[in-house]
Point group: C2
Chain length 204, copies 2
């Protein structure tokens, strides 16, 4: 990671950066209270001391705002995870361990997780760039966890994409109460087996 890749924010002044932070903070706070529905644009604006129109200048829709919130949280998590890399040996186990850590972190703020994930999957084409950024962040977290020596192969990247798919979707089923935590764990462990399967030096 070299420079800030904020697309919407080109050279913000300090006051503007502070506003942006206040908005994201208010968004996360409201989200952790009551999830997606609790993040109401008027309230976000009020809580961050900004006019409604200004909020919309910074984030052109509620989904944009929540996806940006997710970016923020993910960056946080990425750093945290980096500080304590997984203890397992095998790449598959390392990824599973990392994702379960992330999952436990989300469990602590289920409403926030709900808001962010719902926004992410509900996002339409107009939010694609931002969603893509989130996706790249997630990919980076997984690749980090794998602890590869060399660049990943195309096959491995496919496996990582599938793991991401499973991660998001499993999260949704858990958030909507249709899957238990144990089931999410099993699903993650199952999909992580793909990593062994696509290792360049097969241990099959």
């Amino acid at each position: 990671m070299t420079a800030e890749v904020k697309p919407a924010a080109l050279q913000l002044t300090e006051r503007q950066e502070a506003r942006r932070r206040r908005i994201l903070h208010a968004s996360a706070r409201l989200a952790s209270r009551g999830g997606f529905d609790a993040v109401q644009m008027r309230e976000v604006a009020e809580n961050s001391g900004v006019a409604l129109g200004t909020l919309y200048r910074y984030f052109p829709s509620k989904v944009h705002l929540l996806v940006a919130t997710m970016q923020d949280q993910l960056q946080h998590m990425h750093e945290t995870l980096r500080k304590r890399p997984p203890t397992e040996e095998e790449p598959a186990a390392r990824v599973a361990q990392t994702l379960m850590r992330a999952f436990r972190a989300l469990q602590r703020e289920p409403h926030l997780a709900d808001a962010m994930v719902r926004a992410l999957t509900f996002a339409d084409r107009s939010v694609s760039p931002e969603v893509d950024t989130v996706s790249r962040l997630t990919t980076a977290i997984i690749l980090d966890a794998m602890g590869l020596d060399e660049a990943p192969t195309a096959e491995q990247l496919s496996a990582v994409r599938v793991i991401e798919h499973t991660w998001h979707s499993a999260l949704i089923t858990w958030l909507s109460g249709r899957a238990s935590i144990a089931q999410v764990k099993i699903d993650i462990e199952t999909v992580c087996r793909l990593i062994d399967l696509t290792a360049p030096t097969p241990a099959r």
Copy 2:
């Protein structure tokens, strides 16, 4: 003292069943025009010759309506797929072939697919039973495609769940323009490898 009954499936008169059909039909038609946003409750009501309040009696929210629409379409697809079972030999290939067929069918009505999938992933707890029905239908389609002789093992069921996760999430990335059709194909083929991996009598 009459017990509260689920309005969906229990003891509808003929006129009511006809109304329900008209509503679902109007919903699908509007969805195939312009996706999620084009399905407007007032318009659905008008197009199916029903008052708005009545529409809400049958389907308590737009998401409920669209998930029910998906149920309907999935049932259709299940029958169609049954009539032409996959030609491949190996279970993994059979499932991949079946899902790609389903995918091509969705490509023909991308807006409809958009509306249904967005509704599905956006659904909150109040829609859990309906979403679960959709999930069971999908599971049935995949299990059918596998062409098992015996009941699936727990491991296989995990693999099927992961395939479902991947299916939904890959669909979303395609619908929001962040993945190409080729990429969806690769992801599906990748995840289907889990089937071989969890086969009770390993084919390799």
